[in-house]
Amino acid sequence: MTVPLTLLGLLEREPSYGYDLKRDYDAYFGGDKPLPFGQVYSTLRRLARDGKVTGGEAEPGAGPDRKPYTITELGTREFDTWLAKPIEPEPHLQTTLFSKVVLALLLGRPAASYLDIQRTAHMQRMRQLTELKRTGSLMQTLLADHGLFHLEADLRWIDVTSARLDALAEMVRSI
């Protein structure tokens, strides 16, 4: 889950209020999925509890003024560690699509047709993302590209699998 770490990263710039953090999060990372206010404040409360940020709550006797959230040394350390650490490349060798293909072959259902339907859905999504690239900002373009390259990889897998369905069917039934 990267929301806490992303908020820590935004706090690295300068102490900020929850509202500003939400606005910046949505502008940079929200895409079509803005961060709910509730999640912003619950996340900040947890970070404060764990000593990674300070501020937020009104100080006793200090009136209604609230302090902006400030990242602590512990928070900075955690953020730096996360930023520098590579994410795990393709950790799971199980996919829904693979399961569907194997089950279809096992049960004698039209796997090739299912793959064609999936290809159609993938191409449709690729068209949408390409349109987003054509009309959107550079940040949207880069996000869309990430999606496009992954969809393209899926499509290649679909093509290779389509071409090898007969051999795969034989193997599946012999297990």
Binding site: D116, I117, R119, T120, R127, L129, S162, A163
Partner: protein, 254 residues
């Protein structure tokens, strides 16, 4: 026989009549079959991507539709007339006046300048030099080629050369632009720029595009994608521009 998206030639609604159409086309090279009953139609102004693995027959289909190859069986129709039965002379004429072409490599004359290359189709159509160069020159800024008119095309980068090829393909205002792997020799970003310009200019001109590519990211620029497998168009899907479901039959390859 397959004829998933075939419309009668006397279809009442002109707008829906395909501008270019292959009907149940067969093509063999020696004993090797390349097309085995391929049927495909593009509507006026449509940008259609023809996808498929190497050797699937997608380029052969494009060459048949463009009147470069003659099918062994089946029909090619262009704008209400049968193309494959025309004489060589008439077909050549039609290719020059109604079609534009962009290929992967080597379409430009390297010793000639950018402006010469773009003006070439117009000069071949016996347009005056002055008019031809004026029209060629007008294409330079549209394709980001400002100031390059006097450059020899042999000195251009791959992306620049492809943009010149695109200008040359569009300068005579063809009805159909045939593009065979137009970004095949370019890196990702350069290829995207060429696709942006291809799609943008084709839309601006109302040109129909038949785009052959194995690259899904390139095909995603089109309104519609079809897949050629084993010499047949096996897969067609709805367009997104007008929301109508055009050809949803999914014919499973065997």
């Amino acid at each position: 026989m397959t004829s998933v998206n075939q419309l009668p030639t006397n279809a009442p609604r002109q707008a829906e009549r395909p501008i270019i159409e292959a009907r149940d086309v067969y093509k063999l090279f020696g004993q090797t079959p390349a097309l085995l009953g391929a049927t495909l139609a593009a509507r006026t102004g449509e940008i259609l991507a023809v996808m498929g693995p190497s050797g699937s027959g997608k380029s052969t289909l494009l060459h048949c539709m463009a009147g470069i190859y003659t099918p062994d069986k089946g029909e090619i129709w262009f704008d209400g007339q049968r193309l494959d039965t025309l004489s060589d002379t008439r077909r050549t004429e039609l290719r020059r006046t109604a079609f534009g072409f962009v290929f992967q490599f080597g379409q430009l004359v390297p010793e000639l300048t950018v402006a010469d290359n773009i003006a070439l189709p117009l000069l071949l159509s016996r347009m005056s030099r002055k008019a031809a160069y004026a029209r060629a020159g007008a294409w330079l800024p549209r394709l980001g080629l400002d100031g390059l008119g006097d450059r020899r095309t042999g000195e251009l980068s791959g992306g620049q050369a492809q943009r010149v090829a695109l200008a040359r393909a569009l300068v005579a205002q063809p009805k159909v632009l045939f593009a065979d792997e137009p970004t095949g020799s370019l890196d990702t970003l350069t290829g995207e720029m060429v696709m942006e310009l291809l799609v943008g200019n084709a839309r601006a001109e109302g040109t129909t595009v038949v785009l052959v590519t194995h690259d899904a990211r390139v095909a995603a620029y089109a309104d519609r994608q079809v897949l050629v497998r084993d010499g047949k168009v096996t897969h067609a899907e709805a367009t997104h521009t007008d929301g109508t479901v055009a050809d949803t039959e999914v014919e499973v390859g065997r």
